[in-house]
């Protein structure tokens, strides 16, 4: 049974992780594409990404594309596992009507 994850539970980070997990495991999304997809500002997205990166859920790769610096993002295996556990916990709540144990942020 999965446990609710406080870090992922935050609505914006939930959507952010949902985007990253929807990508193929070997794929990375550009910062600009992610920002446009979620309709966020650079600062807002950056702040949430930092928290997820600190928890080890998101990998950040900085590179150059056509001589322009670009940042690409992907969910780490740990992030995918944490997200899957969070989704499993949500499904249990939906099925049983009872809340499950909550995992502390970053855990």
């Amino acid at each position: 049974m999965g446990t609710l994850n406080e870090l992922i539970h935050q609505p914006l980070r939930l959507r952010l992780m949902a985007v990253l997990v929807a990508l193929q495991p070997d794929a990375q999304i550009g910062f600009t594409a992610l920002r446009d997809l979620l309709e966020l500002t650079d600062g807002n997205l950056g702040a949430h990404l930092r928290k997820l990166e600190e928890a080890g859920y998101v990998a950040v790769t900085k590179t150059f594309v056509a001589r322009k610096p670009q940042t690409f993002l992907s969910a780490t295996p740990l992030g995918r596992q944490a997200f899957a556990e969070h989704v499993a916990a949500l499904e249990v709540i939906l099925q049983t009507g009872k809340p499950t144990e909550q995992k502390p942020a970053g855990g």
Binding site: R15, A22, Q24, Q28, I29, G30, A33, I93, Q102
Partner: protein, 186 residues
Amino acid sequence: MSMTPEEAQASLQAIQQVACQTRQTLYRKTGYFPIIWGLAWGGGFLSYQYLPFLPASILWIALLVVGGIASGIVGARVEQQVRSTNGNRINLFFAVLMGYTYLGFWIARPLSVQQMELLLTLAVMFGMIGAGLWLKVSALIGFGVVVSALAVVGYYTLPAYFGLWMAVLIGTTFIGTGLYQLRCGQ
């Protein structure tokens, strides 16, 4: 923190919505690839059906070059949004597969136009099945098997119209797949 079933449902719906939106937005543009190759290959097969060998061969080479350039442009645009190591490996795999296929043609010459058309199609479908097995995409495997089977059936039952058969088969399946991807982002 406790969560009500209603909140859990809302979260699950949000996840599903965002995941769907992600696939539609990011993967939709890859639908241009099968359209480009459906047009290039369809045109190539038609040329062998209705033109003499030499002009048909020149036209097909020109179509392959144009298809390659168009794919490169689309690929560069897609890669600004999403990049994938498997995608690059699969492109390289197909390039190697084509190299070996044309080497096989050279070694086995002389081959009839129909034999080359069939073997080229089977090589590409072999690549698609391999890519499907690698990426665990059953649609790619099914596509490769069905098109291979129909190509072989056409080779033995419609030898006089094989180029036309292949143009219709490859053109409709590739372009149809691309249009579906553009619409649904799958």
